[in-house]
């Protein structure tokens, strides 16, 4: 195709420019959610990411949900999600040969992502200091529960522990019950997103000065960063925020309606009169509810009025009417509702992919939309060792005899 052809007359669709990280090469050594998500985001936006796994497979391959509830290493949907758009090879870093191969790969890449216990790679002689000798512009992004330094750096993390120490649980749930974490693995996703964000900044700088650095991401600190509105209560006035009382504070929290739950907040473009009209009970116009200061004292009574007024109404009808009234309003969607969401459809959020073992599935794909270099789906997650030959024979030029030896010696 020549540049004079317009897209209309071209026999082929105009190829999209590669993503904003076009040309960036990444080795992703991580076995967990956080590191893998970080690598996936970079791959989604144009980086060439190679997943390196132990010959037995990354631990994420053993984590559900699984396709058809079949706990097969190629059917972990979590592994699939976190490794979209990557190529994959196996490498045993616990062998001298495996580490030598890693050292040979490092001069060809810009970024190494890893999430091992701090010190593990250094003990093997392939820590940041070691690898930087092979490539001074190298960026290494380490994502761990508590960071590389400090008295807890060797402590083990789990989602619930990151959430507890990251302040969020202290304000979540209700008084009189144990603090509550978010469902799922939010802290791990947060670690992954912050890993990608910080790496993009280091890449920008490396492009300017030709020098890389070691980025040390703490997952617990990611969670704590989302407690921004809470933290300052103490150094500003010595206060500690509580969890909410068990009753009498429904605004801003899910409330049951006929077929599910809704959530409402004052503000937005709606006046109190609009909100009262939406719920349809004239009592809400009385000063004890209409006056903000009085409303705060009569929350329990107000909850009753509101709950009564929505008990026979459906969540989707409420959602549409609330938008017409310019209210801040939400409804609790289930995963299958999210799967069919017309708004996400309009944003082209999901992509249908074809995986050699799983087959055709729709995956949540696009974190954000970019005008010039948008998200592109290139490939599903790699099968275990899928690109070994491409990397080791074509790339590093091992002979086919040595390639077979490496397999037999459990290096790849």
């Amino acid at each position: 195709m020549t540049s004079t052809q317009s897209p209309q007359t071209s026999p082929l669709p105009t190829p999209l420019p590669h993503g904003p990280l076009d040309g960036v090469k990444v080795l992703d050594l991580s076995e967990d959610i956080a590191g893998s998500f970080s690598g996936r985001l970079m791959a989604d936006y144009g980086a060439d990411v190679l997943k390196i796994e132990p010959p037995t497979g990354a631990s994420l391959r053993r984590m559900g949900p699984f396709f058809g509830d079949d706990p097969h290493p190629e059917k972990s949907l979590f592994y699939l999600l976190m490794n979209l758009n990557k190529k994959g090879a196996t490498l045993n870093l616990e062998t001298v040969t495996g580490r030598n191969i890693l050292r040979r790969l490092v001069p060809h890449v810009d970024v190494v992502i890893e999430s091992y216990r701090p010190g593990y790679l250094a003990d093997l002689g392939v820590g940041y200091e070691d690898l930087q000798k092979e490539n001074p512009a190298l960026i290494m992004t380490s994502i761990t529960p508590f960071g590389q330094t400090g008295p807890y750096s060797q402590y083990k993390g789990e989602e619930v522990v990151n959430y507890a120490m990251g302040l969020i649980m202290s304000i979540s749930g209700v008084q009189g019950k144990e603090p509550l974490k978010h469902g799922g693995f939010q802290a791990q996703y947060e670690g992954g997103l912050n890993g990608a964000a910080s790496t993009s900044m280091a890449l920008f700088l490396a492009g300017e000065i030709g020098k890389g650095q070691h980025i040390d991401v703490s997952i617990t600190e990611c969670v704590a960063s989302s407690a921004m509105a809470t933290q300052t209560m103490y150094p500003f006035m010595g206060g500690t925020l509580p969890r909410r009382p068990a009753t009498g504070s429904n605004f801003g929290h899910p409330m049951p309606c006929k077929d599910g739950w809704i959530i409402v907040q004052t503000g937005g473009g709606a006046s109190w009169a609009d909100i009262a009209n939406f719920f349809g009970d004239p009592q809400l116009l009385e000063p004890k509810f209409a006056e903000p200061a009085q409303r705060l004292r009569n929350t329990a009574e107000m909850d009753q009025v509101v709950l009564e007024s929505i008990k026979e109404r459906g969540k989707w009808d409420l959602f549409t009417k609330a938008a017409e009234a310019r209210m801040l309003f939400g409804l609790v969607q289930t995963p299958s509702e999210l799967l069919e969401c017309p708004q996400l459809e309009s944003r082209n959020f999901y992509r249908e992919i074809e995986h050699p073992v799983i087959g055709k599935v729709k995956v949540p794909a696009v974190l954000f939309n970019l005008s010039l270099t948008p998200y592109q789906f290139l490939r599903p997650a790699p099968l275990l060792g899928q690109h070994n030959a491409e990397i080791y024979v074509d790339g590093l030029e091992y002979s086919s005899e040595d390639y077979v030896r490496l397999r037999q010696l459990n290096v790849i």
Binding site: P20, L21, Y45, G64, P65, G68, F78, T149, Y155, K156, V160, A164, M165, L167, M169, S170, S172, L180, G183, G184, A197, S200, A202, F204, G207, D216, V217, E221, A224, S226, A227, M228, A229, T230, Q231, T232, Y234, P235, F236, M237, G238, T240, P242, H253, W261, I262, G267, L328, G330, V332, S336, Q343, L344, S346, I358, V363, L367, F368, N369, L370
Partner: protein, 451 residues
């Protein structure tokens, strides 16, 4: 040789509330010159009302709009200019600023920027390689909810998180505050870092269109896949783990003190039994097997709770971690200032205000990462409202003194907001009594060494 990544980059931050303003503060930490733009009659909501947080010593002071804690955390290290965007002069200076900037961030509803001819196609005419970042509740475009009002509190339900958050057998719940705002904060940093790199390589800018709803749903991905292929709708499991057991949050010694722990294998269970002084439980068929522990989780929780309630939470963490069991106490807004890990990493950074601000010294959340070769840090205090009007308009844009005076006179610019009021303050003792505060330490300044 040590250099901050964004030195020499100028960013216009025409954004409100939490998500992108907080990204602006972090971009300043990365070394960018970040110019916060507010309308004289449209001060950021973190200055006013319920979003403001706390005031120094619970005292509004003379200039209350410059003093709220949330405003000060988010806007650290920025410059501040006011411009009335409903006045054509305000929009003209905004355009002039775009001409000399690298990035513009905005979070108006889609209709507003179009009506000012400041949507991306128009912005590109002003500065061809500009990087524009928009953040809205549902994203731009022609989707059915694109024009719906939105905010993180209510979106937490709509993007699915409430469905999976809550105690076993109870209704959906929320966790934290304004969760999805932060996903946009961090996504904006990723978009800007990547787009700046691309611009330096190709000379081309672009538009990053962020929808908070979409990032919230992304963090639900595994639930959506499970629903799609296995027909399973997920749901709520409190603090438990899908396959590790026991895992939970248990009462520790003291008022509202808690410890979390998570056991994933037989050795961990045996070690826990040993620590609890009940080694026989590791042989008890009700608990000895991974699957039986999952089945008898309620019973195990009771046993663990009886042990933890009389032991200090830090002692619990150290002894559990000592045998390799992931564990940690629930830390609150006070605890985090004294925890040895956070202290050792300098997570909370001290900002000293100039004397005339009457703000003293305060501690703020820094960033969740350290760079080995770039000394990332909060670059200075938040600006006062319109603090850099003169510097930017006269210094940077070359507006003459006479014109500047007329802008002041016509309230196109201002240093005192023309609308908005401070949330009424509640005395600390009353706040404690009414349950608005869980705890109050009157000696916090001494204890933090901020006197």
């Amino acid at each position: 040789m040590a250099r901050l990544p964004l030195e020499g980059i100028r960013i216009i931050d025409s954004t409100y509330v939490f998500a992108l303003p907080y990204a602006g503060g972090l971009l300043a930490d990365f070394g960018a010159e970040v110019i916060k733009v507010e309308g004289p009659g449209r001060p950021d909501v973190t200055r006013t009302g319920g979003y403001a947080g706390a005031f120094p010593e619970n005292d509004l002071g003379d200039d209350w709009w410059n003093r709220p804690s949330t405003y000060n955390l988010i806007h650290r290290g920025k410059r501040s200019i006011t411009l009335d965007m409903t006045d054509s002069r305000g929009r003209d200076y905004f355009r002039d600023l775009i001409k000399i900037s690298d990035v513009v961030m905005e979070n108006f509803t889609p209709r507003v920027m179009r009506s000012w001819d400041l949507d991306y196609p128009n912005m590109k005419k002003i500065k061809p390689d500009i990087i524009m970042v928009s953040n809205t509740g549902y994203g731009h475009g022609d989707g059915p909810y694109s024009s719906y009002p939105a905010q993180a509190t209510t979106q937490e339900a709509t993007h699915g998180h409430c469905w999976i958050t809550g105690h076993v057998g109870e209704g959906p719940a929320k966790a934290g505050a304004s969760f999805v705002d932060f996903l946009s904060t961090w996504t904006a940093l990723f978009a800007i870092g990547s787009a700046l790199r691309y611009r330096n390589k190709t000379g081309q800018g672009q538009w990053a269109d962020l929808g908070m709803y979409q990032s919230g749903v992304m963090f639900m991905s595994e639930y959506i896949m499970d629903a799609q292929v296995n027909g399973r709708e997920g749901g709520r499991m409190g603090n438990r783990h899908p396959y590790r057991a026991p895992q939970g949050c248990y009462p520790a010694l003291g008022d509202d003190r808690w410890i979390t722990l998570s056991v994933g294998d037989d050795q961990g269970w045996a070690d826990l039994c040993q620590l609890m002084g009940k080694p026989e439980l590791s042989k008890d068929p009700d608990f000895a097997d991974l699957l039986s522990r999952q089945k008898n989780h309620d019973k195990i929780d009771e046993i663990i709770g009886q042990w933890t309630i009389s032991v200090d939470r830090y002692e619990l963490m150290h002894s559990l971690q000592g045998v390799g069991i992931p564990a940690g106490p629930v830390l609150n807004s006070k605890d985090v200032h004294y925890d040895p890990q956070f202290k050792s990493r300098g997570f909370l950074e001290r900002v000293d205000y100039p004397k005339e601000r009457q703000m003293g010294s305060r501690l703020f959340i820094g960033r969740p990462y350290k760079f080995s070769n770039s000394p990332l840090a909060i670059q200075g205090p938040s600006p006062t409202f319109g603090q850099h009007n003169e510097d930017i308009l006269q210094g940077l844009l070359g507006v003459n003194g006479e014109t500047y005076e007329s802008l002041v006179k016509d309230a196109v610019i201002a240093t005192v907001p023309t609308t908005g009021e401070a949330a009424p303050r509640i005395p600390q003792e009353e706040a404690l009594q009414r349950g608005r505060l869980a705890d109050w330490d009157p000696d916090y300044l001494q204890n933090l060494g901020l006197v």
